[in-house]
């Protein structure tokens, strides 16, 4: 079966979605990513959607799910590279991706992830809750 590759770089997992996903592939990515976060203890997930020509409610929901699930597994998610036409359409569709953090490109997304992870350590969230 087709699979979307998940790359590991230090504490981060990187995903680039380059195909027009059918629904089952999107669900498989959701499962694979949560599994990889828990296996690797990754602190951040970066999802590059710059090749996606549309994001419909199904893919939008998948992105929201990944963000929520990774949060529960103590990782941050940033979605990067959304095309402007996709953003316009998504909002008109009624989906503003609440709970999903976004950045314009991979560089900005990585910086956001690093700041989130560092910030969390500085403020001692870990020691407060465990």
């Amino acid at each position: 079966m087709e699979k979307i590759p998940i790359l590991r770089m230090g504490d981060y997992l990187l995903v680039t979605i380059q195909v027009d996903m059918h629904d089952r592939l999107a669900l498989a990515l959701q499962d694979d990513l949560t599994k990889r976060i828990s296996e690797t203890g990754a602190k951040g997930v970066l999802i590059d959607i710059s090749s996606l020509e549309i994001v419909d409610s199904f893919i939008g929901r998948m992105l929201g799910n990944i963000a929520s699930m990774s949060r529960v597994l103590d990782a941050h998610t940033v979605v990067v590279g959304m095309q402007p036409a996709v953003a316009i359409t998504l909002v008109e569709l009624g989906m503003s991706l609440p709970g999903v953090r976004t950045a314009l490109n991979v560089d900005a997304g990585m910086e956001l992830l690093r700041n989130s992870v560092d910030g969390q350590e500085e403020f001692g969230y870990g020691s407060r809750f465990y």
């Binding site: 059918h22 020509e53 419909d56 409610s57 359409t89 569709l93």
Partner: protein, 133 residues
């Protein structure tokens, strides 16, 4: 209103949803739609094709090119599923009888210029949308 061409695509599997998206994109590009308008009509088609598959238990999409006086792309989704008992309710954001977000029908309506649903309980549903250039 002159119909330039029509084409029918099956909507009976998830792979068909991808084919519908691709075909609608090709046609909208060919007609000279702006990138934003292409994206809107393809996204609407994706939502409606999924509805046809999941709620209508499969059906088909007719793709119609209109020309004169205006150029437009019309998509007609039809199924022989259980039908929609209350269309107003089905159009409301957040309403769903399935596991989705309930944005499909109402969301698709906002992405096109003309929108029509005809549904009879036990007979099926026809959704017609048109995006004008």
């Amino acid at each position: 209103m002159a119909v330039v061409s029509t084409e029918t695509l099956p909507v009976v599997s998830e792979a068909d949803i991808v084919t519908v998206r691709r075909r609608v994109r090709e046609t909208a590009t060919h007609l000279g739609f702006s990138l934003v308008d292409q994206t809107k009509v393809v996204t609407a088609a994706s939502e409606l094709a999924r509805n046809t598959l999941i709620y209508g238990k499969g059906g088909e999409m007719e793709l119609i090119i209109l020309n004169g006086p205006r150029v437009g792309l019309r998509l007609l989704f039809s199924d022989r599923g259980p039908g929609i008992p209350d269309i107003d309710l089905a159009l409301r954001d957040g309403f769903t009888t399935g596991s989705g977000l309930g944005l499909g029908l109402g969301g698709a309506k906002r992405l096109v210029n003309d929108f029509e649903v005809v549904s009879r309980a036990g007979e099926g549903t026809k959704v017609t949308v048109t995006r004008w250039k």
